[in-house]
Amino acid sequence: MSATTVTAAPPRRLLTEERVATGLVGLLCLLLLLAIALPLWALLSKSFLDDQGRFVGLANYARYFATPVLVQSLLNSLFVATLATTIVIPLAFLYAYALTRSRMPAKGLFYALALLPIFAPSLLPALSLVYIFGNQGFLKDLLFGASIYGPIGIVMAQVFYCLPHATMILVAALGLADGRLYEAAKSLGTTRWRMFRTVTLPGAQYGLVSAAVVVFTLVITDFGIAKVIGGQFNVLATDAYKQVVGQQNFAMGAVVGMVLLVPAVLAFFVDRLLRRRQVALLSARAVPYAPQPERRRDLLLLGYCILVGGLVAAVLGVAVWASFIRYWPYNLSFTLANYAFAEFDPDGWQPYLNSLWVAGLTAAIGTPLVFVGAYLLEKTRAVPLGRALAQLLAMLPMAVPGMVLGLGYVFFFNAPWNPLGILYGTVAILALNCLAHFYTVAHITAVTALKQIDGEFEAVSASLQVPFWVTLRRVTVPICLPAILDIAVYLFVNALTTVSAVIFLYGPGTKLASIAIVHMDEAGAIAAAAAMATCIVATAIGVKLLHLLLDAVLFGRAQRWRAR
């Protein structure tokens, strides 16, 4: 016995797991600080400085609220956001209700239809509306002389743009129903209307509020729609653009950015609060609700879905169609002339290639970064403080509108003292900005996937003296591959379609497709703008289809171990 109790010192390794984890968490924190926290700090501090960089307290804010035009924009923003939310929520609720609580056919198709706008820049529905209701629109008379350029157009376009987001949230909320409640209510002879009021609505109330909050924020913070179809009707997002890009008034731009941040931050906290409650609502023993077939209800709901889903497709379709037409509305013959972008914009096809490049870079760098980051936060125990900081920073972008983040980047990376200023106007800063902007959702996707796998894998590998990075590569990543693909596609599609953040950041030679749309629209080349938008939509949908295909092939048969 005593012979074997040698006080063997543990093998000295340079790369201990703890050190590696600590280093990686440190890197993650540094990156998130650079990409998220410091730009926001730059924006915040800028709003308290004058043009010469002197601290002026709340003077900029006072000036903002003393300028009637700017205050009017704030009111305008609140007005269209309220109106759009009031319209979208009932529309989306009924749509989601049909998808979850009826036995109508082709639910998958209708869900996909409602999600279509996600694959387009917000500019696209606005362009379509111009074609339909604009000065030469074929349904112009339906507006009875009112102009589509202004609040009417903004609200209509926003309804299409926000419908998928509201529908997704409400489908999730209504899908969580506990079948036992309905059986109990039915066995008590409850009428259908009462059942709806006492069981369905209360069950979905958090989803409803959450959807409303999300839509309201989306509308307030969106830039593209107001830019294309807003006409003389100013809103917060267009103000921020004008102050910074048009008038070079950075201090006032910063104040507008801060004002823009308020509803988003409020919405963020309301949403978090609700999510926490929602989880507790459904007990683990709940039985999923399975709707019974009911001819009349199913037919009515089917009709409704055909109408709404059809409208969504039609509105997107008009712009696509118009991009292939020679001269709206006089010469409807087919042409590819609108795709000869060099005719309309000196950069030609370059913006589209730039967009692919930025989206690809965002996905290629962002996916491993987000996943490894989430893994470090979720599965390692090194530097608790660092992990807490990274967690906070990862959740922050959710509360930051793209315009605000974009402004922050302008102030931070453009600052004369900042050596990172060399990034300004490069593809790198565009990708970094996209990654920061969409970090939260990707992070949550990764965390959710990681939470679903056994929490003891790291303990087992430690006991077998296998470092965590080996287990990450051999086990965790293969298991989470579907989620990793989801993240990659999410980052790619969003980087491809976003306008708001990058509008401040492109430089000569790095203009993106979505920005080219804005410019061509400004220059009156609407057909070319529609053509560029069509390219984006087609690419985004193509990538999504590829994703579905890959999912089916990779995870369907090839991976026997997933089968049960």
């Binding site: 016995m1 006080t7 056994d454 003891e456 087992v460 430690a462 006991s463 077998l464 051999r474 086990v475």
Partner: protein, 391 residues
């Protein structure tokens, strides 16, 4: 823990000494404390485990068994105290430097790897030649009775088979210490019974020092060389299964391990206690019996109630009425009440044989005796411990 007096345990049973072993300890835990916020999950735990020993941590859910196991493994870090494994202080060492294998209730098998790859997981990283790894994996799979399942994936195996694979994986690197956290709790009763015998046999054969966490007293009694009974983050008693069962150190242990009837009693002179109006003789023990009037708790195992050949002169003999009978297969558990002292109730186990021979049925009156040596005397503490007497 404030007790008014100390009970000297009967000769040969020293709970304090039972924490140590004759051989030099392989695992030595000293004054280990772990807090979660203001909650103390482990309170100054002292423990020694000899090389080759099979020790069970037994206690109710939430008492700190898993926390203690994980702290020993280094998966959780103690706030105070030290841990020595194989003569080396590993208090601050990361898990990878502690030389243990671990098996969890959830199996924690890697779902995307075959059984072979799971078992060989820890070997691949040691730059062993491929052939040696294959041979070792095959050997282990034979050892756990799954010689030709190597190419399957975990989802294709039953729960019991998966747990065997997990065991093989934990043993593959020949660790000095095997840690099992409720390895059988997720399995069906039958599989559980079977696997526990196998684990025990395997452990004996390999001689690997093993700690198993369980909340199932039967499992602990059947498998362990020594049992560590825990409650509320402290060790209540350490001892062999027999010591734990026959001479529980506290009412809590008595109640948690096996069944025991408890009576509220008061001391009434050396070797004498009073339960209600009845006086009972108990073993006085080697040293001082508590002063008259000290509140006590008396415990009696149901199988210790004597019934054959009881005469009036026997200690603690009296007539009892069979109130109720519970059929439990090979034996029956009777609820008896004393004829002359209403409210004095106790449980007694009678074998099927005895039932037949003595014609025991509900409503029958029996002459029973409670042997003084089988009446356990505990201090009466109201903060924790066994339930009161069944009313």
């Amino acid at each position: 823990m404030t007790t008014a007096f100390r009970f000297e345990p009967p000769a040969g049973e020293m709970p304090a000494a039972a924490g140590r072993t004759a051989a030099p300890a392989f695992l030595r835990v000293r004054s280990l404390t772990r807090r979660f916020g203001s909650f103390t999950a482990l309170d100054r735990i002292d423990l020694e485990v000899a090389r080759g020993e099979f020790v069970c941590f037994l206690g109710p859910s939430g008492c700190g068994k898993t926390t203690l196991l994980r702290t020993i493994a280094g998966l959780d870090r103690q706030d105070e105290g030290s841990i020595e494994i194989g003569g080396r202080d590993v208090s601050t060492a990361p898990p990878a430097d502690r030389d243990f294998g671990i098996v969890f209730q959830s199996y924690a098998l890697f779902p995307n790897l075959t059984v072979t790859d799971n078992v060989g997981y820890g070997l691949v990283n040691r730059r062993m030649p491929r052939a040696a790894i294959a041979a070792r994996v095959a050997e282990l799979l034979r050892l756990v009775g799954l010689p030709d399942q190597g190419r399957k994936f975990p989802v294709q195996l039953s729960g019991g088979q998966q747990q065997r694979v997990a065991l093989a994986r934990a043993l593959a690197t020949s660790p000095g210490l095997l840690l099992l956290d409720e390895p059988l709790s997720a399995l069906d009763a039958r599989v559980r019974l079977h696997l526990r015998e196998e684990i025990r046999a395997l452990q004996r054969r390999l001689g690997v020092t093993t700690i198993m966490v369980t909340h199932d007293q039967e499992e602990a009694l059947a498998m362990a060389d020594r049992i560590v009974v825990m409650n509320h983050g402290v060790i209540e008693q350490i001892g062999t299964p027999e010591e734990i069962y026959r001479r529980p150190a506290s009412a809590f242990v008595a109640d948690f391990v096996g069944t025991m009837t408890f009576f509220e009693a008061t001391a009434a002179g050396p070797g004498q206690v009073r339960v209600g109006t009845r006086g009972l003789r108990v073993d006085a023990g080697a040293t001082g019996f508590p002063a008259d009037g000290t509140p006590l708790r008396l415990g009696l195992r149901p199988e210790e109630v004597r019934i054959r050949g009881v005469t009036t002169g026997d200690d603690n003999a009296f007539e009892a009425l069979v109130e109720d009978l519970e059929f439990l297969g090979p034996f029956c558990r009777a609820r008896l009440s004393a004829r002359d002292a209403p409210g004095f109730e106790l449980l007694a186990d009678f074998s099927a044989n005895l039932m037949r021979d003595l014609d025991i049925a509900c409503g029958a009156v029996l002459r029973i005796a409670l042997p003084p040596g089988s009446l356990r005397v505990f201090p009466r503490r109201d903060d924790r411990g066994g339930n009161g007497a069944p009313a």
